[in-house]
Each structure stands twice: as structure tokens, then as C-alpha cells.
Symmetry: C2
Subunit: 182 residues, 2 copies
Amino acid sequence: MAQNAKPKYSNVAYVILGFLAKSEEPLSGYDIKQWVDNSVRFFFAASFGQIYPELKKLENAGLIEGVANATGGRARTEYTISKAGHDELRAWLMQSETRLEMRDQGILRVFFSGDLGKAERLAKLKELRAARVESYETLQAVHAMTRETISQMPELVLDYGLGLHQYVIDWCDRAIKAVEDQ
Amino acid sequence: MAQNAKPKYSNVAYVILGFLAKSEEPLSGYDIKQWVDNSVRFFFAASFGQIYPELKKLENAGLIEGVANATGGRARTEYTISKAGHDELRAWLMQSETRLEMRDQGILRVFFSGDLGKAERLAKLKELRAARVESYETLQAVHAMTRETISQMPELVLDYGLGLHQYVIDWCDRAIKAVEDQ
DNA sequence: TCCTACATGTAACGAGTTACATGATTTC
DNA sequence: GAAATCATGTAACTCGTTACATGTAGGA
């Protein structure tokens, strides 16, 4: 369906454009970081070290517009997406790239845990499970908090994250059982 | 349970040590790359550009030992893990770090697809589903191929990958339905 | 003869994290 | 008065991919 000309901007740029397009009010870099942490973080994180330089770049390119809006002595620049920004976002959305990259240290350790004894292997699995339960609960809290403020697609995607974690937790339980019954 | 002194080597180093520990025969860099691509790739990829330099580093540190074993004029260096290597692997295995990083461009596009029309949104979801089905089938083929040669833990972990992809595919189906019924 | 697999490596680049630096405002 | 949160930014560093370079061996 879509073309795949290589994109001119980093993925973080499109995350920024995406949130600015979704938001009714203009957002600061700090706001965008909050949104990232409260929604896409589990499948696409972004740090301040990426966001702030990217905002400058997007502004220079005319895809977003920043307006200084300090509160007293506290600096704040609020950004709005431009027509050109919407076009660029749309072009990116239409691309067919669906690459999924994972770097999962927990499961990697489990994979190589043959070198450990049964007890240690079990402990590893329980550790992994606990970590994923923690993520699950964080996600769930965010989900509950933002349920009313977001529209259908993000809602579906948050469910995706929740379900994914639920699957991992269930797998841990099965693996623990399998090792125990060994 | 475990300590968390920061590890001296990159994750790729431990992947190398892990495969050398698991393997009965010595392995070349090329062999290790094959193993990575056929098992851990979906939750921990590694490229030649990482593997070869890391092999040198591990050899200099005495964690592995390389023996030249050319076939005619074709170069080949085969590596074996040393006692020190086993110890280092074990220390890494005992660490509690379970960090999971994902960068999922497909779901990111779906998340921001509110800017698109219903038809385009549906097409995006179907595209994502197709990509994940492809991964699933690759994994399944590998799984079938290696089922006999690997031991319990890797077997369980391959099931993990398969089930994870199955979950994602099922989610795509539900999301497609939700958008269609809208 | 040509293609695929075997085999090893380096260099350039891009992506991303972390630590650091600085300071204001609000809440307890 | 202290701590948390708001707010912006840079620099150093690590990590990882991709492209390039080079060549052999074996099978169609």
C-alpha cells in the first residue's frame, strides 16, 4: 500500500509530531516526555536528550512552531504542529515499515540458564515474572488514568501492551511449573 | 537474590559466552551468528560488526580461546570457552537485571493512526498483522528444525517467542474487527 | 560459469542513554 | 525549609547497524 522512501527525520521526530497532532493544546518538550512515558514508552521510549534537540530541528524545518511562554522566571516553550508537519507525519504514517526490535535481558538470561542449577533457574524465572508484573501494574495504572482522555486507537494500543505483558507473565508461570515438575 | 555489579562486557559478549558454553564443539564467529539468528534473534539480535570485535576482546581477556582451523584457503577460527569464561558467564547469569526494551515501528504507526481515515487505519493494521505472521512462520520453522538439538530452557524460550507473536497476531485480529465495527 | 554459502574483518554513521548543569515553582 | 516537580539543554559515551572490502569452496 505505502511507499518507502527513507524518512528524513528520526523516529523520535515522528513521535513528537504524533503527539502534537493529537493534542488540542500546544505542548512543551517536558509535556511530550510525559506523554511518551505514560503511553508509548513500553514499545517506543524517548529521552530528553533526544526530544529537545529534535524539537529544534523540527522547528528549523518549519514542521512545528515554538512560542515562548514562561511562568514567572520558569522557562517554557510550547510547540504547535504546522501544515507541513501534518503532511510529514502523514507521509510517515503511510510507510510500510513495521520493524520490531526487542532487547530482553531477562529472557536472555533464562535462555542461557542451563549453566545454573535447578534452584537458581527457578529463581531466575521468578525474578523475571516479578519484573514483568511490575511493568504490568504500571501500565495498568496509566491505562486507568488515561482511559477517558484518549481516543480509540491509543486505547487499543494500550490494551495491546497490557495483553502482551499478561502473556509474558502467564508464560513465566508455565515455565516455572515446567522446571518444578522436572 | 543476585548482585548487580556493572558487567565488564557488553551483552553480546555474554551471548557469545552462552553459546560457547552450550555447544559441545568449538564455534567460529560465523557459527555464533547462525545460532543467534536461529534462536535468540527475536529478543536479542547481534551483527557481525559486534561479534567479531567482541571475540577478539574476550580472547585477549582469556575468557575464550581461539584456534585457527582453516579448510584449504578458507580461514576459520574456532573458539572454546575457558574456566574464566564460565565464571564470567555465571556471574552475569546471576545478575538481576531484567530490562526489556522494545522499538516497535508497526504499533507506533497504529498508535498515531488517528490522523488517517478508517480505510487507511485498517490497511495499517492488516499490514502489521501480515508482518507479524511472517515473523511467526520464520520462528516456527526454526523451532521445528532445532527442536531435537536443544535442551529444555532454550526450548521453553522458543515457545515464548512463538506465543508472543501469536498474541500479537490475535490482537491485530481483534483491532481490525474493532475498527471495522466502528 | 555463476551463485550460494562460508569466513573475517573495518569504518562510518546513527541512535539512544546517562550524567551533568542550571534554575524556578509548588507542595508538604 | 526541604523535597518534588517543572523546565531546558549539552556532552560524553555506548550500542548497534550498514556498507564496504576481500577471498575461498562447493554445487547447479
